[in-house]
Every structure is written in structure tokens, then in C-alpha cells.
Symmetry: C2
Subunit: 208 residues, 2 copies
């Protein structure tokens, strides 16, 4: 993890190929369902050669998850307490949807890990993730109490952004089967915008 070795060109290429092949395999079959042979073939290497770069199947999986978690929470980190409330939340949702569009395999890898009971990242969920969410939930609650956005449960508001955006990556097959030729993401972007504007915009003159 912190070896200062310079990493030759071949090492860089092969390690990247293995991680990409592993991402394909793990994201569609889960950790237990994916095989080293499958990953090796996707990476264009023999199995022993693959194990020359990573000591075990676990090591590949762990490397993928570690690299993923870094970037996965970035959009939430970027939610700025000093920005415009509605704009900040919408921007977060749009960034998250863009990640589903641009990195669907990473999203499915994460989904598989959670479905399996989060054996690897369970500690991260109840540790750093929970802290981050609590912190941002406090920000949201502040905005609500100041009347800048409508009051609702901040945690579930965050969950709803996760659920909606990741759905378009994780259930991509289903979404496309239902929609046919239509590109899901254009419509999704508009709908999500409209949906969250509706819940967020403070009631100026309450009807009824």
C-alpha cells in the first residue's frame, strides 16, 4: 500500500488490466461468484501470471473496494454548507447520477458488496460513512430550520438520492428493458431535478 517502488510500465498496464477485469467479474457475479480464470481471461493474462501481480482473489477485491470508496463519497463531501441549499442538494443528486452513468460497474460492485452483507466494508459503513452522513444531515437540518428548504427527514432525504441515482446503474438492465431504445439518463436527470425541487422548495404561501 505504501511501497515506494517506481512501478514499471508493464506493471502499471497489467495491474490496471487485472483491476478492470476484476471489476467486470465482481460487479456482475459478486465476490463468491467471480472466478480468477474469468478475471485472468478478461485481463489477457494466465492465472499464475495474474497471481504474480496480486497475491490472491481477496487482494484484487480489496484493492477495488479501497480505490472505490475514496471517490464514492466525494460528491457528498462536496456538499457545501455555505452554498445555496437547493442548488447544493440538486448538484449532489446530479453528480451522483453522473457517476451512475459514467461508472456503472463501480456502482454494481458496491451494490453486490452490500447485498452480500458488507463483509469487507461493514466497518466503513458504521464508521466514516455514518459520520459523514450525520454531519451532512446536520447541515440539511440547519437549512430546514432556517426555512431555506422544506422540513423533512435529512437522513432519508440522503437515502432517497442514493436510491434514485444508483438505481439507474444497478438496475440498468431492467430500466433499459422497460424503456426500450430510449436513453434512460436524459429522462432520469430531468425527473430527479423535478422531484427534488418539489420536496425542497419551501412553501411560500401555504395553500389549503
Amino acid at each position: 500500500m505504501n511501497e515506494a517502488q517506481p512501478l514499471t510500465r508493464i506493471q502499471a498496464r497489467n495491474r490496471a488490466a487485472i483491476l478492470s477485469g476484476g471489476l467486470d467479474a465482481f460487479s456482475s457475479a459478486g465476490f463468491r461468484g467471480a472466478t480468477l480464470d474469468q478475471i485472468a481471461e478478461a485481463a489477457g493474462l494466465s492465472k499464475p501470471n495474474l497471481l504474480y501481480y496480486f497475491p490472491s482473489k481477496d487482494a484484487i477485491y480489496t484493492a477495488l473496494l479501497e480505490g472505490l470508496l475514496e471517490t464514492w463519497l466525494d460528491p457528498l463531501h462536496a456538499l457545501d454548507a455555505d452554498g445555496d441549499p437547493v442548488a447544493e442538494i440538486l448538484a449532489y443528486a446530479h453528480r451522483k447520477l453522473a457517476m451512475s452513468r459514467d461508472f456503472p460497474r463501480e456502482s454494481r460492485l458496491f451494490a453486490n458488496e452490500i447485498l452480500a452483507g458488507a463483509p469487507q466494508i461493514g466497518a466503513v459503513l458504521s464508521g466514516p460513512l455514518r459520520s459523514l452522513v450525520d454531519e451532512k444531515a446536520t447541515v440539511l437540518r440547519g437549512w430546514m430550520e432556517a426555512g431555506q428548504i422544506r422540513a423533512s427527514d435529512p437522513h432519508h432525504l440522503i437515502f432517497s438520492i442514493w436510491a434514485l441515482t444508483q438505481h439507474y446503474a444497478d438496475f440498468d438492465v431492467q430500466v433499459r428493458a422497460v424503456l426500450g431504445e430510449t436513453d434512460p439518463f436524459a429522462g432520469a436527470d430531468r425527473f430527479i431535478d423535478q422531484l427534488f425541487r418539489s420536496v425542497l422548495e419551501p412553501v411560500q404561501d401555504r395553500p389549503l
Copy 2:
């Protein structure tokens, strides 16, 4: 599938135990990741005895998916074109959330199948499911054009209900890790209600 055999008590009990064990295994590890030994142990049977009741691993998986798809689409079928628009949609969302609460394993089984690329139920998705969704989307569009609910994309509206409700079953581990001791479903129920009321209620006097 259509044998008229009366099914002895032992058969009924063992088949049920196998299906329950298979549901546990497949819903957390996926088809490829689950093993017959695992299912056999969960069912309290030896592996050969398990294979006396089901001819193969595939057969167990297929039986589970078939039994699931029947009930899985029921709530959407129940959406009544002649009912009150907002009430119908909210009722659908609540029924769907209740299924996530009461049958989380089934939800995760479905999620695993989709994540794997829907190798078994792909045809159902682009066939019967798509037809059903298109039919209900037409109903929704009718309500929108009549001004009974606010205009938005009907397909994505349905997707958003799926995404939000299934999230609480499929990502249960994550949700509970973040929330701590709090029961997720009570808050989820309130939030979903508020969220969809916001997008659905027609604007009487448009502000701005």
C-alpha cells in the same frame, strides 16, 4: 409444474425448507456464489437428499424466481385507473415499501438477478413487465393531462418508486449502519409519503 400429485406432508415441508434455504443463499451470494451444501445445511438436509426434491441448483433458483415474479408485480397491477390518482400512487408506494420490509430476501434475490444481467428473467423484463409498465404509464399520463397530478415522466415516476422502496431492502445493511438503532421503515414511510405528495399534488396557483 402441473403434476397433479397430492404432495405428502414430508414433501411439502422439505420443499419449503429447501426454497427457504435457497432464498437465504441466493439472495446474499447470488446464483453463482451460493452452493448446494450451503442450501442443504440451511434446509437441514443432506445434499443428495436435497437433490431428491429438486433435480439441480438451477431448478431451485428457477422455482424461487417464478414464485417471486407472480407476487412481485401484484402491487403495480393493483394500481387502479379509476381510483383517486394521488391516493392510488401513494398506496402503491406504501405497498411496495411494505414488501421491502416483509420480504427483504425476495427483494435481494431479485436485485442479484438483475445485477448479474438478468440471465433468467430477461425475457420477462422486456416482455410482460414492459407491457405492464407501459400500461400503467399510460394511466399516469392520463391523470397528468387531466390535471389531476402534476406532469412528469410516468416511466421515471414508476422507477423512482421502485428505487426508493427497494433500497430499504437491498441496502438494508447500509441503511441500518448509518441510522444506528433507529428502525428505518417508520421514517421511510413518512418520507416517501411526503416526497411523492410533493411531486404529485397539482399546482393550484403557480407561484413565481
